[in-house]
């Protein structure tokens, strides 16, 4: 187990460098960002040169990348164009997005798995068909439609929530945005759990458990559900990374000042430092989430062993 974890951690190193290099190059391809800083006029050449020097843009790309990586290892992620250190931006943005992700994941787990179990055990009954149909609707409607619709209905028409989340973004204000963010994944989790449960319900070990005379509740939670959760856990695990990085749309609609907001701002202003910094952290989150998922397999299914 320990060896396995170390091997996986080592594998992260090339992925980390590759990902940052790719992002770095991609942002660079967009061209010189300085021209956008002077509004509708040409930056005077002296100031532009000075700014380029300050942000290290006067050097060749490979040298910029090396300097940047050197700084990253000392904890310095550079400075955004508005003079704020990127680490400061991260400190304000990540907690917000993490809270949003937690809310979303909770919705996925609680609602998604519950509905999945419910439908899986009642295959073909009206409740199964209804929920399947509903998930189909949720999957086919884009997030920004759900988001804007809920915002308009709950925020403006009925006045239950505030349409925009305050800068502090406490958990209670993130409930609806979290639901919107989770909606599509939630539908997938439901369907995934349903299929898995339905399949395993016919398996030998469930029949044996039933034959032993175990109570139905115990059969479902201990034997059926645990074995059926493996694909679901995989999905939710990879979804953590996707939710954190993919919250741009939701964060925009509800004015949440999280990672998506900073990334959007960084891309529009072509701020390499911000974009690369945030994406680097997101890559790490993704890698770690995947590792944890793999380790969870062993917990869920004793037949899986890592060496």
């Amino acid at each position: 187990m320990g060896r396995y974890v170390i091997r996986r951690l080592l594998q992260m190193i090339p992925v980390f460098f590759g990902a940052t290099l790719l992002i770095f190059l991609m942002v660079n391809v967009m061209g010189d960002p300085i021209a956008g800083l002077c509004g509708q006029r040409q930056c005077d050449p002296a100031t532009a040169a000075q700014l380029r020097k300050e942000f290290g843009l006067d050097k060749p790309v490979w040298q910029q990348y090396l300097t940047y990586m050197g700084h990253v290892f000392t904890g310095d992620f550079g400075t955004a164009f508005n003079g704020q250190p990127v680490t400061e931006l991260m400190a304000s943005a990540f907690p917000v997005t993490i809270r949003l992700t937690i809310v979303a994941i909770c919705f996925e787990i609680i609602i998604g798995i519950t509905l999945g179990v419910l439908t899986g055990l009642r295959r073909g009954r009206p409740i199964d068909t209804t929920i399947l149909l509903l998930t189909l609707v949720v999957i086919s409607v884009p997030t920004f439609v759900t988001g804007l619709l809920l915002q308009l209905l709950l925020g403006v028409e009925w006045g239950i929530i505030k349409p925009a989340v305050s800068p502090e973004a406490p958990f209670n204000e993130l409930l609806i945005p979290g639901l919107v963010l989770a909606s599509v994944s939630l539908a997938y989790v439901t369907r995934l759990t349903r299929t898995s449960i339905a399949e395993n319900a016919r398996s030998d070990y469930v029949r044996t458990a039933k034959a032993k005379g175990l109570p139905r509740r115990r059969v479902i939670t201990r034997h059926l559900l645990r074995n059926s959760l493996i694909p679901v856990v995989t999905f939710i695990g990879t979804d953590i990374g996707a939710l954190m990085g993919g919250a741009i749309v939701t964060e925009r609609i509800f004015n949440i000042h999280g990672v998506g907001y900073q990334l959007y701002q960084g891309i529009v202003r072509q701020n390499t430092q911000t974009v690369v910094g945030f994406v680097t952290v997101l890559v790490l989150v993704f890698l770690l989430a995947n590792l944890i998922v793999d380790l969870l397999y062993a917990v869920l299914d004793p037949r899986i062993r890592y060496a």
Binding site: M30, D32, A35, C38, G39, Q42, P163, P167, N172, V268
Partner: protein
């Protein structure tokens, strides 16, 4: 295995607890904030909040509340009026003697003196400080030493600035510029307290100025709370208790928040909501002229666009654009078809003229077709109009302009839009002279002078002369106008220069942009100044 089960139940329990407390905690809904406080939408300023470093509206809003300069542009007429200036004297339009009024202080108690101005201007001009607006000091003598085009600056002060007393200083310009004092209302010329220089970082974290408001708290990127400064010595004291500026990523969300009653003021109504705005807000929607004009500029560095009969081609294209129809349908009348190259906010006395462009701006497909043909036709038979696609509704109107041109010329492939991903890239391609055809050029005035609508845009090698248009007669007339000490005569000469722009059709004027804002029932007396910024200090909370 048992451990895992427990872990799972623990997660669920936490989740349930979270949702439960969350549901219970949603009680504090309601209006825009404490009594007397206005909550308003804001965007994250692009550059650090320093007076000489702020060149866009969002940062400008704050500076307008935090600072008062020597002059201030009247929020209604745009006229430059003395604010901190007791008098500005000159005999030769080159040497100015400025006296600062007595009794002004910064909100930290420090007196505003001549030194506060001179230090601030020296800081703004110094190349080492990376100030985006440094070129505003370019007319002052010694600018080339403190801000050389290449190499290191050799001095730390502008030689044209001299403190001659506690409240007086002299300015020497490097050229005659009679209306120079009227540029002093621009925020780059604001005075700065010593704290700005001695502890720059903490000043940036919580700026201190001499305006009607003082910063209460500032969390960068999300919110700034400004409170009325009770000891403000000026006559334009704040009429409300303070302003909370909230950053919105998307102006649609801000608008939704306004309609839900969580926000008092939105100063940029999104284009997509213009259709609903009357129904949503009624008379709480304002739409007033601002000093912004949109034009189509041409790449004069490209021989194809700089041919012998080029002016006929360009005038023809101008006459092929149905401005009225586009402003009515796409912009819902928040733009006004342009009749000259300035802006209505200047007023007739300031040089605005609704007849100057005349026929050249009138939609007439037959004339257009004729003129384009006489001008040698569109280079290559087809042109691409470039614009940045990341902000605003540029795509909509560029497509409409192209449609209008195509219909007028009876040629479906005469004109097509050329979107460029980001503003920075768009500016890059412009500064590198790589525009493949006409391109979007917007201009928001820095100060309400006709000079500001002409010189930076059409003077040879001027900072915003993106098309690299050059014309000796125009340059001569502008020089002449700047040297003219009589304002009325100067304006007349500028208008003559503008006629050269018309005859050569250096850029096609499209429309004047209005400022728009919507507000809640909580507040009243909301106005926009000619820079399309709300006049915060006059807002009353009901």
């Amino acid at each position: 295995m048992r451990g895992a089960t427990h872990a799972r139940w623990a997660v669920c329990a936490v989740a349930v607890a979270l949702t439960a407390t969350a549901c219970g905690g949603g009680g504090d809904s309601g209006g825009g904030g404490a009594s007397g406080i206005v909550s308003a939408s804001w965007g994250d300023p692009q550059n650090p909040l320093e007076p000489a470093n702020t060149n866009e509206v969002q940062g400008g809003k704050v500076l307008d509340m935090l600072f008062r300069g020597l002059k201030r542009y009247d929020p209604k007429t745009g006229e430059a009026q003395d604010m901190l200036a007791e008098k500005i004297d000159t005999t030769d339009s080159t040497n100015f003697t400025i006296t600062v009024k007595d009794g002004w202080t910064f909100s930290n108690g420090e007196a505003v003196t001549a030194k506060s101005f001179v230090d601030a201007w020296n800081y703004g001009a110094d190349l080492r400080n990376n100030q985006r607006n440094a070129y505003f000091f370019g007319y002052i003598e010694g600018y080339d030493k403190i801000h050389p085009d290449s190499g290191e600056p050799t001095t730390k002060t502008l030689s044209g600035l001299k403190v001659t007393g506690e409240r007086t200083f002299t300015v020497k310009l490097s050229q005659k510029f009679s209306t120079w004092p009227e540029t002093l209302g621009y925020s780059a010329f604001a005075p700065l307290p010593q704290a700005f220089f001695s502890d720059h970082d903490s000043w940036l974290a919580k700026p201190v100025g001499n305006g009607p408001y003082a910063v209460d708290s500032y969390s960068r990127g999300s919110q700034m709370s400004l409170r009325k400064w009770d000891d403000y010595p000026g006559s334009d004291k704040a009429q409300n208790g303070g302003v909370d500026l909230k950053v919105y990523t998307d102006n649609n969300t801000a608008y939704t928040d306004l309609t839900a009653g969580n926000l008092d003021l939105v100063d940029d109504v999104p284009a997509s909501q213009l259709k609903n705005v009357k129904a949503d807000l009624g008379d709480r929607y304002i739409n007033t002229p601002a000093g912004i004009i949109q034009t189509l500029a041409f790449p004069f560095y490209d021989d194809a666009w700089n041919g012998p009969n080029g002016e006929k081609l360009r005038t023809g294209l101008s006459r092929a654009i149905n401005r009225q129809q586009i402003t009515d349908t796409i912009f819902q009348k928040t733009r006004t078809p342009a009749k000259d190259w300035t802006s209505p906010v200047l007023g007739e006395d300031g040089g605005f003229s609704d007849t100057l462009c005349g026929d050249a701006c009138d939609y007439n497909p037959t004339e257009a077709k004729k003129l384009v043909a006489e001008g040698g036709g569109i280079p290559g038979g087809s042109m691409r109009v470039s614009y940045n696609a990341d902000t605003g509704s540029h795509k909509d109107w560029v497509d409409a302009v192209c449609n209008s041109i195509n219909n007028a010329l009876g040629n479906d492939r005469a004109c097509v839009g050329n979107p460029i991903g980001t503003f920075a890239d768009f500016r890059n391609q412009i500064t590198q002279s790589k525009m493949p055809g006409p391109f979007r050029a917007g201009w928001q005035m820095d100060y309400p002078l006709i000079q500001n609508f002409l010189q930076p845009l059409y003077y040879t090698n001027a900072s915003s002369n993106d098309g690299k248009w050059t014309n000796d007669e125009f340059d001569k007339l502008v020089d002449q106008a700047n040297a003219e000490s009589d304002t009325a005569k100067a304006v007349e000469t500028f208008k003559q220069a503008e006629e050269v722009v018309r005859d050569q059709m250096a850029a096609i004027p499209l429309w004047y942009q209005n400022g728009s804002a919507g507000y809640s029932t909580r507040i009243s007396n909301v106005k926009l100044n000619p820079f399309s910024v709300p006049v915060y200090d006059e807002i009353k909370v009901n």
